[in-house]
C-alpha cells in the first residue's frame, strides 16, 4: 500500500503554504536532458544537470528542508520551454545567488549581460569585472555557476574560439550555442 498521489501532492502543497520549505524543486525535460529546477523565496537558485547530487548541495546551501513542489518552478519551466523553442531570448526571473561569493557573483552579473546568440571570452569577461588577468578565476566562476542556461556561461569560450569547458559537458554547450544560432566559425575564423 503506497501513498495516494493526490495525498502526496496535498502534503507538498500544505508544506509550501505553511512556509516550511527552504528549497522547492522539480524536474523538467529539455533538449539538453533532464534538468532540476530549484527556487527559494527569493527566486530561482539552481538549474542542475545532475539532479541527484543537487539535492545535497541545495540542503547545504539553503537548508535541509528541500522538497519537490512542482508548481513553484512553473515560471522557470515555462520560460525555459520558450527558450528551447526559440521563442525567448532573455529570462525574466528573480534569482537567488546568496551562497555565491562576491567575486563570482560579480562575474555572473557581467555574464548576464552577454546577449543571446553572441559569445565572449574568459579574458574579456575578466577585463569587464576589472581584473583583466583573472581569466582563470572567471573560468572557475563559470564552472560553479549555479544557474546555467539562464546565466549563460555557455556563451563564454576560449581566446582561440575553442569551447574549452562546460560543467554540463561540452556537448550541451555546443547544443545551446547552436540553438541560439551563434556562429562560432565566423566569430573566430
Amino acid at each position: 500500500m503506497t501513498v495516494p498521489t493526490d495525498l502526496d501532492r496535498r502534503f507538498r502543497d500544505a508544506a509550501d503554504r505553511e512556509g516550511l520549505v527552504d528549497v522547492a524543486y522539480d524536474l523538467a525535460d529539455s533538449p539538453v536532458g533532464e534538468l532540476l529546477l530549484a527556487v527559494t523565496d527569493r527566486g530561482l537558485c539552481r538549474i542542475a544537470y545532475r539532479p541527484d547530487d543537487a539535492l545535497d548541495e541545495l540542503a547545504g546551501d539553503f537548508g535541509v528542508r528541500v522538497l519537490r513542489v512542482p508548481h513553484r518552478v512553473d515560471q522557470a519551466r515555462r520560460e525555459l520551454d520558450e527558450y528551447f523553442e526559440g521563442r525567448r531570448r532573455e529570462f525574466d526571473l528573480d534569482l537567488d545567488l546568496t551562497p555565491v561569493g562576491a567575486f563570482n557573483r560579480e562575474a555572473l552579473r557581467e555574464l548576464a549581460r552577454v546577449p543571446y546568440g553572441q559569445v565572449t571570452t574568459y579574458g574579456a569577461l575578466a577585463a569587464r569585472v576589472g581584473h583583466p588577468k583573472a581569466a582563470r578565476a572567471i573560468g572557475g566562476a563559470m564552472n560553479r555557476n549555479p544557474i546555467p542556461i539562464v546565466l549563460p556561461c555557455h556563451r563564454v569560450v576560449g581566446a582561440n574560439g575553442k569551447l574549452v569547458g562546460y560543467a554540463g559537458g561540452l556537448d550541451r554547450k555546443e547544443l545551446l550555442l547552436k540553438l541560439e544560432g551563434a556562429m562560432l566559425d565566423t566569430l573566430f575564423p
Binding site: 500500500m1 503506497t2 501513498v3 495516494p4 495525498l7 502526496d8 496535498r10 502534503f11 500544505a14 508544506a15 505553511e18 516550511l20 520549505v21 524543486y25 539535492l55 545535497d56 541545495l58 540542503a59 537548508g63 535541509v64 528542508r65 528541500v66 522538497l67 519537490r68
Partner: protein, 168 residues
C-alpha cells in the same frame, strides 16, 4: 563510536518513509482518516527537521510522530463524542508500538519496555529524548507542542517511572 549519519535533504527522508507511515496510519485509523493524519505527521516532521542534529533513527522518529498523531486523532474523536473506528481495538495496548527494526540498541529496548505504561505523550518524550537523543525542540515539534512542553513531558515521565520503581 561510529560517526552519526548526516541529515539527508527532507525529500529523501520523506520518499523513504512515506509509504510505511501511511500504512501505519491506515491500519490504526482507517484509510479515510489516515489522510489527515498523514499530512499532520509529515508537517510536524518538517517543522522539527532543522533541529535534528544527525540522520540516525529517522525511521523510528517519524513512526513515533505518526503514532502520536494517531493518538491525538483518537482523543479528539473521543472528546467530540464520535464513534471510534473499529480498527482501534479496546484494551490497554491499543497503541502499543509496532515492532521497530532498529539496529540493536539496549538503551532503546530497555526504555521501550520500561515506558510501556506511561501516558502516550510522556512515553514518546522519554523515548525520543533518552533512547534517540533528540533535542527537545525536535521532540516538541514531533509531539505537536513546544520545546518546553516536551521537556516537561520527559521529566514528568521520568518522575513517574521513578515512583513506580520505588513502589515495586
Amino acid at each position: 563510536m561510529m560517526d552519526a549519519m548526516a541529515l539527508p535533504p527532507f525529500e529523501r527522508f520523506y520518499a523513504e518513509h512515506r509509504d510505511e507511515v501511511y500504512r501505519l496510519l491506515a491500519r490504526r485509523l482507517g484509510r479515510q482518516r489516515a489522510e489527515d493524519a498523514f499530512q499532520e505527521t509529515f508537517l510536524r516532521a518538517l517543522r522539527a527537521y532543522p533541529a535534528l542534529r544527525h540522520g540516525d533513527y529517522l525511521r523510528a522518529w517519524v513512526l513515533t510522530i505518526a503514532r502520536n498523531v494517531a493518538v491525538d486523532a483518537f482523543r479528539r474523536e473521543k472528546t467530540t463524542g464520535q464513534t471510534v473506528g473499529a480498527r482501534l481495538q479496546s484494551g490497554s495496548d491499543s497503541f502499543s508500538h509496532e515492532p521497530v527494526e532498529l539496529p540493536r540498541r539496549p538503551a532503546y529496548a530497555e526504555l521501550e519496555h520500561l515506558t510501556d505504561e506511561l501516558p502516550p505523550t510522556e512515553r514518546a518524550a522519554v523515548v525520543l529524548r533518552y533512547a534517540y537523543d533528540l533535542p527537545y525542540a525536535a521532540i516538541g515539534a514531533a509531539l505537536g507542542s513546544s520545546e518546553d512542553a516536551a521537556r516537561q513531558a520527559a521529566s514528568a515521565g521520568v518522575r513517574r517511572l521513578r515512583r513506580r520503581e520505588n513502589t515495586t
